[in-house]
Amino acid sequence: MSGQRHATMVAAATLALTLTPLIGIFEGVGWTVPVLLTITVIATAGSLIRAAGRGQGLQTVAMCAGLLVVLTAGFGDGTALLFIIPLPATFEHFGVLASEGVAGIVTEAPPVAAEGGILFLTLLGIGLVAVLHDMFVVGLRTPALAGLTLLTMYLVPVSVAPDATAWFWFILPAVSYLWLLADDNLRRVSAFGHRFTGTGQLVSQKFPSPMARTARWSALGFIVLTLVSLTVVPTNTSGFIDRVAEDWEGGGDAGLGDVNPWAQLSGSLNRPEEVDVLRVSTDDPSPPYLRMHVLDELDSDGFGPNDYDDHQSLDLEEAEGETFTADIENLRMEAPVVPVYGTPVDLSIDGNWDRDADTGVIIGDNSDMGDVEEYTLTYTDQEPDAETLANADGMDPSDERWEANTEHPEVAEVSSHVDEALGDADTVHEKVLAVYKYLSIGNGFRYSLETTEAGNDEAIVDFLETKEGYCQQYAAAMAWMLREADVAARVVIGMSQGSRDGDEWVLTSHDYHAWVEVYYDGPGWVMYDPTPSAGVPGAVSTPWATEPAPEGEPTQEPDATADPSEAPSDATPSAEGGPTAGAEQPTDSPSLQGAEDGSEGGSGFNPAWLLLLIVAALPFLPALARGLLRRRRLDPARLTAKTAWDEVLDLALDYGVGLSDSLTPRQAAGVLGQAAPGAREAATVLGSAMARHRYSPSGADPTGLADAVRDLHTELDKNAEPRRRYQAMFWPASLLAKASAKQAEESARLARRSARATDRVRSAVRRPRRSNSRKDRSVTGRP
């Protein structure tokens, strides 16, 4: 019994050790307390039931109950009876928490605060894993399987936040797995009595076995080899090694801390429920996009944010053009940058803010938008006309910014797409329009949120091939292609126009957006939005992004793009069904897209529930498989004495009736008859039928055998102890036996094969040896 308690403790401890990689994805270490409490409660529940001598089924139930109690106590929020007994209302509350948690996981970039829904999901997940883990290690004594649970725990941080998971976090889970195996093995060996060395000396339990020395050394060798090969083998992006290298250099993203604008963007867009972020009241009839981040550092990982290391004090200059004023109320934005319209002329805001000269981004000097409740912005709106742009040159290659804004990795696929897009475009504006047109719906590109959120080279190539993506891919692809065509371009992330709410504009989490800025000599950075406006709620039109008439009369061109000022009132059904969707309806936009986007972005099917459903169905799978097997055997079309007898043998196995291999069918029937006295006759019938089937030339008549099997099954079930009955139902031994028999057969086959191979090698190596054939050593022998 104490051995089991020890094993329980080891199981709990190893699981706790495996949780260390989670440190990277949560803020602080406060979350460890409830997690460790959960593991402890589950381990204790399992251990107590075990100590009472109850079976695995009851242990699992008790552990699950323990988990439920912990969750109820922690998250019941007053809905439970006596704080720990969950009522229906508690489960409803859990459902709300779970969906909140899922939303949080989707939107927030690590490290996240461990509270509310996220903590609930974490505890639930860890609790279920703890139950499985305890079952594998202590109940079923299959610690090797526990590797799966440990791996599951390790995969969570790795997949959620590869950035935050360093390679060395793998060490503790690995060590704990080895501990688990070693401990179990020690227990197993000690069960036989003493441990011996190879030469027959006794070894105390406290000392490592000398016989395992080879194993230890080879394990160490493998680990070293793995680590060495990992550092040598080249991998592509987002890989393990990149992280290793980064951590090694002690680096991290400078300037922006842990915020990844891309992750924030895709997280916000994928968020199932829409939340309001900003509320704007402005005198601008159609405000442009709100700029937040500028991403101009392009490498094979895609566009990365500017370092913003060109801080200048917030002395804003007057700019030409019409000025507007906007009062912006911050509802729930947290960012190190201030979202601004166009070119800010005046900004009144709390906190210390600098302006990055290169990008025009207003960046916080230890200030964060989270601390700002509202601010007032005066800005000029940029409205270049197509003709000016058509005549303007691009950035001068001697410009010091040239390098930073045209740099790009060489990817052959992208180049070929650019060649295809450009055609004979010559001027900067022609190139821009060519690429813009290339990415349009007319060329088969479709808006879809259902793509990877990566913006690296592979994702861009994928996007260009599959022609499906959302603003991230559109913007990155356009900027990249322009750079490929020697046009200075960069990606901007911010928010679209939002939707009109009376006199105000409301910007929600679904209004996050990415677009492109192209540099023209003269007008400066000009924005382009390659994303189809149907996919962007609150899209703003860019009239200059149309082909200027060859004669140079852009104003007379009958253009589908109306005056932006009219756009907001022109409500078109859009993805979100909001009143002010795309200002311009692309002429060839299929309405299907809107529907698709709705299903992607809206609160639709939650994958977490599917996962829960699968987890809940798992325990019933063996019973289902066993039932199907029985039904197939007793199917009248293929029923023979043999199939009936196979079923009888499996039933015997399930109900723990020991039938030795050396029993004849009649003797086996006799044993079964003793185990199920009510079905003695049925057993005899089955045994005789099998004997006839196997040994008589005339075979056996299968009529009535199915009924006999059912009788036997009923009687066996009736005579079995409850524990045995449930085990036969949910964890039938015959299924396990089949699996292990198959495995044994397989390993025997492998062993035979390797033995044959060894023999061949030996016989090939062995040379014919003739005695006394050496010349210099003549046989002297006796005189």
Binding site: D646, L649, L659, S660, D661, S662, L663, T664, P665, R666, Q667, A668, A691, R692, R694, Y695, S696, P697, S698, K738, A741, E745
Partner: protein
Amino acid sequence: MTFESSPGQPPQAPVPLSPQEFKATAEGILTNVEWVIEGKSHTIKLAIAVMLAEGHLLLEDVPGVGKTQLAKALARSVDCSVRRIQFTPDLLPSDVTGVSIFDPEKRDFVFKPGAIFGNLILGDEINRASPKTQAALLECMEERQVTVDGNTYKLRSPFMVIATQNPVEMEGTYPLPEAQRDRFAARLAIGYPDINAELALLDRREEYNPLDALRPVADAEMIVRMIAAARAVHLAPELKRYVVDLVAATRTNPQVRLGASPRATLQLLRCTQVLAAMDGRDFALPDDVQQLAVPVLAHRLIPTTETTMGGGDTKAIVSDILRHVPVVSNPGRY
């Protein structure tokens, strides 16, 4: 006394019995013999099986438990001749086989048949005779013919030797060599009757010897037909495999110095057939094999010295083998 001189005509193919007739006749013999030997039906059944499998029987038991009675009752029941040879150290081979004597009237040698010319031969205390005499008997058993002075004489059919040995009194005996023990299809022990059977025995024998009251239920011809019928019993491949596995297991068993011979395999299968037929079946079952394995195999094994010193005997070894050899040799199935 009639006997055929070699070369005899090929015997006419006997007409086999149906399984029902076989079962009825066998049960008749069994009831008859049981009338004389009370409470030993299983042993008697096996003895009949050995007879119908054309084998010979070695009865190893203490005196007075009914070895001779068994042989006599068997012989009476099937209406055939029974001869008894009391083996002593001075018994000569010619006493067993017969001898050619000069007949002054005919001026020629005339063959005087020995005790072996009968249907059922009871060889009492076979281990008291000299090895030479034993060898003469065993040769007849195997070949079912006698060769004297260059003439070969065929023995009768059915022909069965029931030899007895006293396992207790070993002084001045010549124990049968293993090779010769192998000639016996089975070794049986009758054993003491239980109390009720012994009481019944007393009651019955108060007035007369029950042996005298026995009426034959079959004749020699019937026995020949039964032998033929038994040979036709179906042996499934799985069953043959099981028998071979069993015999092979005696050869690899670490407690055994010498395992059973292929002859043992053959005889085990033939006895199995008879047992199946006695049960009214036209196919044999492993259950039949298991009943016969100890009597047919145990006496042929030579245990290692360690086993003998440890008090183990070959019956236990065969029982152990029966417990461990799978009935169907395919792994993963029973």
